[in-house]
């Protein structure tokens, strides 16, 4: 626990460097949108705070847990989403594979990698209609199964 303390402090320190900057509020708004979109993807049971509970986007008065917006130095935008997988979804995919109607995607790469791709496309589609930049990449963390 004590080892995760410095990390937790480090994240707000960097984001609060531009406190009052509209960019930062945008990050929270972006994270909220991403969180909503990801939760709607079939197979996602919810968002997870990640190992050590540090995965969140912090803003004034609130924090979006499970989604981190990274602005990297090379001007790339990376979304980090921490997902709890629905166990029922895995079971249904398994049942479907037994009746030989598995999606070729899942059969090739595995259910979870396919789900990660689905999350990415959902985010890409949701971002299209807004003024949010298209992310350079979306890192999907499967943290737990529920």
């Amino acid at each position: 626990m004590s080892s995760s303390e410095p990390e937790r402090k480090a994240t707000p320190a960097t984001t609060f460097a531009h406190a009052g900057d509209p960019d930062q509020r945008d990050d929270v708004r972006t994270a909220e949108l991403i969180a909503r979109v990801v939760c709607d993807v079939p197979g996602v049971a919810g968002l997870s705070p990640g190992h050590g509970g540090t995965a969140a986007t912090h803003g004034p008065g609130k924090a979006v847990v499970g989604v981190v917006v990274h602005h990297h130095a090379n001007d790339s935008l990376v979304f980090e989403v921490h997902v709890v997988v629905a166990e029922a979804y895995l079971e249904s995919m398994l049942a479907r594979s037994r009746t030989s109607a598995a999606t070729p995607d899942a059969a090739q790469a595995g259910v979870l990698p396919a789900l990660a791709e689905a999350i990415r496309s959902h985010i890409a589609r949701a971002v299209q209609d807004t003024e949010i930049r298209v992310p350079t990449s979306v890192d999907v963390y499967f943290d737990d199964l529920r």
Binding site: H51, M93, L94, A107, L112, P113, A116, Y141, D143, D144
Partner: protein, 175 residues
């Protein structure tokens, strides 16, 4: 004498391969055993996707999938944790209502491969090697299907036997 010299050298070549395929990063593997026993809670599988981002599957997820696959096999009574430390952790976990679904499973995940250790209580009356093989196959298939990870090894430890009511009653007793 020359033959006995060959054997140790070939057997010595195998462990580095094994450890390098298991380890997530090519760290110095000479001290791998102590680190891997601590690592599973923090080490995660990283699978790089084509430019759209990383997909990271936590050890917990792989462990839960493996445990579910193992429990499905007939002859597997329960998965149990081993050792005094594990027993204490088990009691603490039960008291705090921690998730019991990863009990008895430890997972090491690399980039594309995984190794899984199991502690199993086996039903009395079944062939343990056959149950072990069935468990192995089921885990390999299931983890491959769910996560895309290749399971390199499943180490099956029959930790105890479970006697059902009828078997317990049928035990001849010497008095």
């Amino acid at each position: 004498m020359s033959e006995t010299h060959v054997e140790p050298s070939t057997s010595r070549q195998i462990p580095p391969e094994k450890t390098s395929s298991r380890a997530a990063t090519p760290v110095d593997t000479s001290i791998a055993p102590p680190t891997t026993s601590i690592a599973p809670t923090t080490v995660q599988a990283v699978q790089l996707d084509s430019g759209r981002g990383k997909t990271i599957i936590a050890d917990t997820v792989v462990a839960k999938i493996a445990a579910a696959a193992a429990r499905e096999v007939d002859g597997v009574h329960e998965l149990v944790s081993l050792g005094a430390g594990a027993a204490i952790a088990g009691i603490a976990g039960r008291l705090t209502r921690a998730d019991q679904r990863t009990t008895g499973v430890s997972v090491e995940v690399g980039q594309r491969e995984a190794a899984i250790d199991l502690n199993v209580t086996v039903d009395y009356g079944v062939s343990i090697p056959q149950v072990a093989d069935a468990v192995r196959q089921n885990i390999i298939d299931r983890v491959r299907f769910m996560t895309g990870l290749v399971v390199k090894e499943v180490n099956f430890n029959a930790a105890d036997l479970y006697f059902s009511e009828e078997h317990a009653a049928a035990q001849p007793r010497v008095q």
